[in-house]
């Protein structure tokens, strides 16, 4: 495969996409897990399917549709959640199903044969194009920069939002920015694991890293490394077996999470990497 890596453009694209998806997914995944936003991220991802359908129907790049729908979903869920109490799950479910329903409707309205949407639903890292890579690079740089530049503020906000509000920080800006970052991350990951499997890549590496360290920045680093391993294994297996890459990535992630969990339980003192700090 390493020889083929130098020969084939699609493999180089896939490797580059793996690196980008690992960085952004690993980093944002920790925030999502710590802030308990996994289901909300699932809602945003599934809503983006409406944008994919609209893109196909109207004739623009579907990923731009996903981009728009993700941001509207993120801010919409956040806005309604703040205006109401106790029905967060219901709001997420509504956006989730509405997005999927719109996607199906838009694609159903297209004349002739329906387009191939499987790569958007389940991802296909081997079909990542140069255009996808440019978009992924821009979004990854944007998301990572915003997190790292304002790291101290994020840390305080994620730990205790009420306290940052009492300090008279602009918590509305922080919260809305966080929601937009989630939406952008979803868009980066759609081409790698697909809409349906995005939450796996955003939660499993972060959860695995939480088994190993209690420091936020270390969790982010471990989570990025785990994401890379999960996606890379998925890519290699998919290349040799022709199995769908999205599914293989999720299988790998869950399998390795179980292995790390067992190792962490049994050999925590024997393996230096698995020490708490």
């Amino acid at each position: 495969m390493f020889k083929a890596l130098f020969e084939y453009q699609f493999l180089q694209n896939a490797l580059f996409a793996t690196i980008l998806a690992s960085i952004v997914g690993g980093l944002v995944g920790v925030i999502i897990v710590e802030k308990k936003l996994v289901m909300m991220t699932g809602g945003i991802a599934h809503t983006s399917y409406g944008g994919v359908g609209l893109g196909y129907l109207v004739g623009f790049e579907p990923i731009f549709g996903a981009f728009m729908f993700s941001i509207v979903a993120a801010l919409g869920i956040g806005f309604i959640k703040n205006k109401t109490t106790g029905i967060k799950d219901v709001i997420i479910a509504m956006f989730w199903s509405l997005g999927m329903a719109l996607g199906i409707l838009f694609i159903g309205l297209m004349p002739g044969y329906p387009p191939e949407v499987t790569s958007y639903l389940f991802g296909n890292i081997l079909s990542v194009t140069r255009f996808d890579l440019i978009l992924m690079t821009i979004l990854t740089v944007l998301v990572v920069s915003i997190i790292l530049i304002y790291f101290q503020d994020w840390k305080a906000h994620l730990f205790d939002q009420e306290f940052t509000k009492i300090m008279r920080k602009n918590t509305t800006l922080l919260e809305n920015t966080l929601l937009v970052l989630l939406a952008l991350t979803v868009v980066v990951l759609i081409r790698v694991v697909g809409i349906i499997l995005v939450i796996a890549l955003l939660s499993i590496p972060a959860a695995a890293s939480a088994l190993l360290t209690g420091k936020l920045y270390l969790r982010m680093i471990y989570s990025i490394l785990f994401s890379f391993v999960f996606i890379f294994v998925g890519l290699v297996v998919s290349y040799y077996t022709d199995f769908p890459s999205g599914a293989i990535i999720v299988f790998t992630a869950i399998l390795l999470y179980i292995v790390i969990w067992i190792l962490n339980k049994k050999f925590i003192k024997k393996v230096p990497l698995f020490s708490k700090e």
Partner: protein, 248 residues
Amino acid sequence: MNDPLIDISNLSVKYGNISALKKLNFSIDKGDYIGIIGPNGGGKTTLIKSILGLIKPNSGEIKYCGTSLKKSNIKMGYVPQINDINRMFPISVKEVVLSGRLTKQIKPFFRFQDEDELLALDVLKTVGIYELRDRLISELSGGEFQKLLIARALTLDPDILLLDEPTAMIDVMSQRQIFNLIKKLSGKMTIILITHHIQMITKHVKKLIYLDKNILAEGDPNEVYKYAYIRPIHQSISNKYREVRNNV
């Protein structure tokens, strides 16, 4: 004459159709050490959160040194209920305390200065958990965690410290330590303390308030304590009497 530090007039807060506070009038002067007691659902936390600006009241207003919260320079420290915080969050004791030294503005590439570190360590010494500074918060006991939240509030150098049940769910020894710590702080700042430990608070505060959607009793801690002690018995007798009368 100086304006009170905090002046609350006709404050009402509702959650849906349920009133948490009804036309409350209340003022806090500089240097006050006030205890608030009352039944669950009596509006104690709602009152504190309204003062902090975390809850928008349905009607009435709160003035801070005679002006609005936005215009005032008042610094408020808050110690929330222990259950309101994610104690598994990956953060160390020192990092939590340092977060109180962040600026009001969201600043790029913010780094804490040496003086921030020194102040944080000093505050940790004051509350008695200096030796735990590098521990993760998930490794702290309930009492240690409560002291950490007090330390974080103190780094803001507050004019007023508002504490919401800081002795809930911790052992008696830690409760005493925390009450003594708060008493020590009361000489330096205004303090509002919510608690269910009525006996303990009566010995410490200068003024006690019994809150049940409105102030039902306030003033001398011993008098209010008696009222708080008798009221449930009185209510129970009244209910029994009503029951009997209805049956007749």
